[in-house]
Amino acid sequence: MKTIVTDVLVIGGGLAGLRMAIAARRRGHNAIVLSLVPPKRSHSAAAQGGMQASLANVSKGAGDNEDVHFEDTVRGSDWGADQVVARMFVNTAPKAVRELAAWGTPWSRLRKGDHEVIINEQKVTLAERAGAHGLIAQRDFGGTKKWRTCYVSDGTGHAMLFTTSDQAIRHGVEVHERTEALALIHDGERCHGAVVRDLVTGELAAYLARATAIATGGAGRLYRVTTNAVICEGIGHALALETGVAALGNMEAVQFHPTGIFPAGILVTEGCRGDGGLLRDVDGHRFMPDYEPEKKELASRDVVSRRMEEHIRSGKGAPTRFGPHLWLDITLLGRRHIEHNLREVKEICQSFLGIDPAESWIPVRPAQHYTMGGVRTDHTGQSPHLKGLFAAGEAACWDLHGFNRLGGNSVAETVVAGMIVGEFIADFCDKPENAVPVPLTLAREFVQREEEKLAAILTSGGHENPFQLCSEMQEIMTHYVGIFRQGDALLAGVVHLQRLLERSREIGISGKSRAANPELVAAYRFRRMLKLALTIAYGAYRRTESRGAHFREDFPRRNDQEWLKRTLAFWPDEGASLPQLDYEPLDVMKMELPPGWRGYGAKNYIDHPDTPRRQQEVDALRARMQDKDRHAIQHALMPYADELPALLAGRNERLDEPLETVQ
């Protein structure tokens, strides 16, 4: 048995994985990153519009700070987020942007003086102060009170990923490209690494580590139309689920992005709307103000996507033979703006639609975009159920996003969680009690088990085709577990998926090579994807309320009284056809921001019994401390600063908040 021993094993080579590995290396630990593809090809590169961090450099960001970012994030999550985690995140986001700036990311910079922008169809002149010239610029994004999204034209994720990947090379982080983890090695209490398959040679190896971290991104490919890359199949989620011990949190929370290009689902950034682009219907009518008079096109993504589908249902979609779509109009932004600030969008429109977005409208319809659910972790990124297993980024349920993630918060989470969880992993590795003897016998058992599973697929005489089954699963998820959900349909979806699980036992493949073999890969991944699909569908069926992106037509109200809790899914029995669900309540009495109206979307929810009491406490405390600074008030409401790693603690300087005076 080939065995590789390291301190930290990171599964996934995108921004979160690389940043955790860098943190471990800087603290003197060895780190190996497993990546399906060369790390610079990871899906992090696809983040276009930007990352949120409350730098408050631009005039429309005046007054922005961690408090505002925190509130936007919690409202966006429909109160599903862990508020301590959200606080840790908003305080670290400016540091993450500044670290990347120091590492070379070419953030778009602010220019002093007057410049013209489009806001709500009007040309508006904004004046930028001379003192901010050359600092990092921000643009507008959905669900935010201030312009907070830092960007590199519209290739933000690409620029961040290349910077971070180059830093990983500089720090000597080993990346094992074209490798795939097949199973986590664990003893029921402690994770020890993973069984890993080389996707070129087919060879299996045991990678043994003190700490194992999952950073494999999302699971968009469970759906037919998704903005996600083809590698986003949720395999990291499934690895955790298949331990039978670790839990997945909130898997039913699936985000649909309003502007996937129709019909292929390729993303065009929210920056299009942030910069002033409009949504129009078959008549060319701008319909969003009819539904959302306050935030219009810039309500949160769950709300905009639902409104778009609602408008299509009312017959206002532009018809095609495949189905209706709506239009994204950015022509009003002008050619110069599009060619400088939205150049990837322009390239995508030219390459895939053959249109010039400075002259033509872009056909769009909501497409699956983001997996809020993930491996449930505590605020340090560690699984509360399986020691030594960590997770960060989209693969994790940390839980920053609750039931809806704000645009610009995902690529921000990758690097922020990478920094924070990376430090906690290094702490974990530093502790002598976490240095366990290398469990070779256990590793051999796990490798053997995976060998047997592969052999079973290669020698199976079954007649089911894995590509075909996967397409059917994607159809079921799209049809029954999409934007609008309903009890009977969800149950039907679960039953259809269970039938697929039966059929998946009859998968047979024609190519018998143990080495690079796309059919074999499809076969063994499919069963894992199907377990995730069942977890999403069943969790959605059981959650009889609407919250964030999870919208039940038969239960259209958010119900804090019964459902202010996180879904935990376990899969302890390999032979089962459903996960076991458990629920973890959120404590209203500890919330800095008690539940209320989000400021957009339906004003329709059932309060938690503790909410009025907590709201009174909060109001009284704010009144009592009104002469105190915002940090003191925040600390009194919900202390969090001690939870941050020492290296990342401390306030953030802004032009209007010099560090000397705030400390």
Binding site: P38, R41, P94, R98, E99, G104, Q167, R321, N652
Partner: protein
């Protein structure tokens, strides 16, 4: 795996058009199999409107030949995974529309890079080696800046110029098209020069032309370039490689001769 669906969607979304049957002669070879010899194998598929090579190749794999190897990740032209020789020219397959192709086509893996099998090549391994050799990361004045402080300023136009060079996706098209790379395996390639030009332009990087001369001041570097400029012609991101290489060569010549 949803390629077929995307294909159907694209077909139905479009106006009806004349059916075209396309032939793809694909270079098949499995270097791990001693019994395998490189050969062209033809596949025929019916074209659909808005069909890309991503859709076409997935349809071939899902319906005709599940053993066919190729690489796609983003399928949106931004990750650089799917470069291949399309009728003799390096291109990103995912954003090559079949409507731009003739009825009879040849697909081959990128030359120069290690072959994994069929259309799949190991660009990642080569790019990591190039990065280590040319030290393609920012060499900052200060290793651990105070992250609580306001960031250093940068001229907005300069930031945009740096991004222009930073848009490289390391797809390997430039190296696959390069005459010098054909003759010497150790050539740094346009992708490498583009990166040196990018860090040279960045005032946050402390390196001088003397430092860059050590990295690219010989025939494996910028003096090996024969100015055939195929790199510039095939770059899917339209990077200004021609100007950058010419500029670097002049700077390196001046540095080398002590001017």
């Amino acid at each position: 795996m949803s390629a077929i669906i995307e294909n159907n969607a694209a077909a139905e979304a479009a106006e009806p058009r004349q059916d075209r049957w396309l032939t793809f002669n694909i270079l098949r070879y499995d270097p791990t199999d001693p019994g395998s010899a490189p050969h062209l194998r033809p596949y025929r598929i019916e074209e659909a409107d808005s069909m890309t090579l991503f859709i076409a190749l997935n349809e071939i794999r899902e319906r005709q030949d599940p053993t066919l190897k190729f690489d796609f990740v983003c399928r949106a032209g931004i990750c650089g995974s799917c470069a291949m020789m399309v009728n003799g020219r390096p291109k990103l397959a995912c954003r090559t529309l079949t409507s731009s192709l003739p009825l009879e086509n040849t697909l081959a893996p990128l030359p120069f890079f290690e072959l994994i099998g069929d259309l799949s090549v190991n660009t990642g391994k080569w790019m990591r080696g190039m990065s280590e050799r040319l030290r393609t990361w920012l060499h900052a004045r200060e290793d651990k800046p105070d992250l609580r402080r306001i960031e250093e300023r940068m001229d907005p136009d300069l930031a945009e110029q740096i991004y222009e060079l930073d848009r490289c996706v390391e797809c390997g098209c430039c190296v696959a098209a390069c005459g010098t790379a054909r003759m010497r395996e150790d050539f740094a390639g346009a992708v490498g020069f583009g990166k040196i030009a990018r860090f040279r332009l960045d005032p946050r990087d402390v390196r001088t032309d003397d430092d860059y001369y050590e990295l690219i001041g010989d025939d494996t570097g910028v003096f090996g370039c024969m100015s055939l400029l195929a790199c510039h012609d095939v770059c899917p991101k339209s990077l200004p490689l021609q100007t950058q290489i010419a500029f670097l060569r002049r700077r390196m010549a001046m540095t080398g001769t002590g001017l």
